[in-house]
C-alpha cells in the first residue's frame, strides 16, 4: 500500500471538517501510515466469494404504529445549543458572497 503523504492527510482533514495544524499534519501522516499499513492485512484473507457482514445480528426493518406523542421540549433543546434566537438554532453564515 502507498505511504500516506502530508497532502493526503490534509485532504482527509478537509473532508472531515477538521482544521488541523501544520504540526498535526506531520504527526498524523506518520501515524496514519503505520495504522493503514497494519490494517491492510484484511486484504490477505478475504476472498471474493466471502459475503460481507455489516451487522452481526440478522435484522429486518422495524415498523411501529405512528402515534402522536410529545417530543422533547423546545426550550430544553435550545438551552443546550451553542446559540439560539427566536426559538431556533442560530447558525453562522451558510452562503458566501459569490453564492
Amino acid at each position: 500500500m502507498p505511504a500516506i503523504s502530508r497532502e493526503e492527510v490534509a485532504h482527509l482533514a478537509r473532508l472531515a471538517r477538521l482544521a488541523v495544524t501544520d504540526d498535526e499534519l506531520d504527526t498524523f501522516a506518520g501515524q496514519l501510515d503505520v495504522i493503514l499499513g497494519a490494517v491492510a492485512r484484511v486484504g490477505e484473507v478475504a476472498a471474493d466469494d466471502i459475503p460481507p457482514t455489516s451487522h452481526a445480528v440478522p435484522l429486518t426493518n422495524v415498523l411501529r404504529p405512528d402515534e402522536v406523542k410529545p417530543s422533547i421540549d423546545r426550550e430544553m433543546v435550545l438551552l443546550a445549543a451553542p446559540a439560539a434566537e427566536d426559538g431556533r438554532f442560530r447558525v453562522p453564515r451558510i452562503l458566501t458572497e459569490e453564492e
Binding site: 482527509l12 482533514a13 471538517r17 477538521l18 492485512r41 490477505e44 455489516s54 443546550a80 447558525v91 453562522p92
Partner: protein
Amino acid sequence: MAVPDSGDDLTRLTATETAAKIASGDVSAVEVANAHLDRIRAVDGDVHAFLTVDEDGAIACAESVDDKRANGEPLSPLAGVPLALKDVVVTRGLQTTSGSKILEGWIPPYDATITRKMREAGVVILGKVNMDEFAMGSSTENSAFGASRNPWDLTRTPGGSSGGSSAAVAAFEAPIAIGTDTGGSIRQPAAVTGLVGHKPTYGGVSRYGLIAFSSSLDQAGPFGRTVLDTALLHEVIAGHDPMDSTSLDVPVPPVVAAAREGAHGDLAGLTVGVVKELGGEGYEPGVEAACRAAYAKLEEMGAKVVEVSCPHFGYALAAYYLIAPSEASSNLARFDAVRYGLRVGDDGVRGLEEVMSLTREAGFGAEVKRRIMIGTYALSSGYYDAYYGQAQKVRTLISRDFAAAFETCDVLVSPTTPTVAFKLGERVDDPMAMYASDLCTLPAPLAGLPAISVPAGLAAAPGGGPELPVGLQIMAPALADDRCYRVAAAVEAALGVLADKAPLLEGAK
C-alpha cells in the same frame, strides 16, 4: 474472604448484600449513599474516576427508595444500591461529556433507556465516570479530562475505555458500574482492575441514549466485584426497547439464575474451548500461567477442556480498526457546532463550514481525529473495497470461526488481555501498541457475541510493583449470556473474589 479492617464500612459490601440490608431495614439507602459519597471524597483525588458527582440526585433517589420501603412497597433487587455511570450514557439534567471537550457542559434533555431503567429500579446513580474520549482508547488517557488511575497501582491505567467505571468499583467508590464495550471497553478494564465485566449479546441492551461510537458494535454492560452483582445489574438494563431498532425482541437470558447455579462449582457436561490463537507471542507469562491455572480449575469442576483453533482471529484487530473508525467518522459528523456542544470561531464573518472545522479541531482530541481520518480514508471511493469492504468480509470469517468452534464447545475461553495493567504514559504515543491491548476482546463484538471477564488471580507486574489482576475471558454463542455467567461464577467460587484484595488506598478505614 477476610477483608482487613473492613469493620462495618458500607462501601465494602457487595451490591447483593447492600440491597438485602436496605430491604430488611438494617441500613437506609441514604446511609449507603452517604457512605459512598464520603468514600468518593476520600479517594477520588487519587483515583480520578468521577467527572461529575451528583450528590443531590443520589440522595434524592436514595430517599425515594427509603420512602418506598417505609410505605411497604416492593423493592427491586438493586433498590438503593449506588452505581457509577459511564459518561457516554445520557442523563437528563446531568452533564454528559463522552470524555470530550466538544460536549463539555452539555446537559442532555432526555434519559437513555438504560438510565431510565436504573432509575425505575431504584439504583442510585452517584455520578458520571471517566472514559477515553468517545470511548476510543484502552487506558482513559484519551479523556479530555485527564486519566483515571488503577487502585491496585496508581501509576497504572485502570483500562479503557470504561476506565472510570472500573476504577470506581475497584476503589470501592461504588459496588457496581455501567460501561460500554465496542472492542473490549468493558472486559479489558474489568480484567486489569480485578473485576467482573460483561459485554452482552449485540441487541441485548438498548443503545438508545448512548452517544454512538461504532453503531454495529457498541453495547452497554455491567461491572461488579462479584459475578452475581454483575448479573443483577445486567437484568436491570437488558431487554427489548422500541426506541432502538437493533434491540432484540427476545427474552433476557437468565443470567442471575446462571450466576447462582455456577457458584455451586459443578460444570459436569460442559465443554470449554481454549482458543489457540489467543496466546503465545506478546502475552505475558504471568497472564498465561494464571489462565492455565483457571482452566485446570474448570476441569476439576467437571468441565471438559479442549483446544480449538479460530484461524481468522488474528485478523480481528485489522478488521476492527477499519470498521470502528469508519462508523465513527460517520457518527461523529453530528458534532457540527450547531445543535449542541462547543462552537469556536463564530465571529460573525466566518461561514458555517469554517466554524465547523475550527470547532471540531478544538473540540476533538488526537485519537478521535486519527480515527475520523482513518474512517474517512477507508470509506472513500477508490479505497472502500480494499479497506472497509475487506474488513466486512473478515467479519464474516470470524463469525464462521465462532460457529465452527461452538459446534463442539459450549463456551470459548482466553486471557482477557495479553498483559496486566500497563503504566500510564507507556503506550500513549504509539497507537498500534495501544490497539494491541484489545487483541483478545475484539472477535466477540465483531460477531455480536456475549463475553465476560472474570478475575483469574494475580500476576507479577513487568517493571516491578505489586502483583496485578489477570482476567479470564469467557465467550458464548449469541443470546447465551447465561453461559458466560455460569462459568464465571464457577471460576469465582474456585478462586475467590479478587476485588476484596485490592489496596485500601489512603483515606480508607
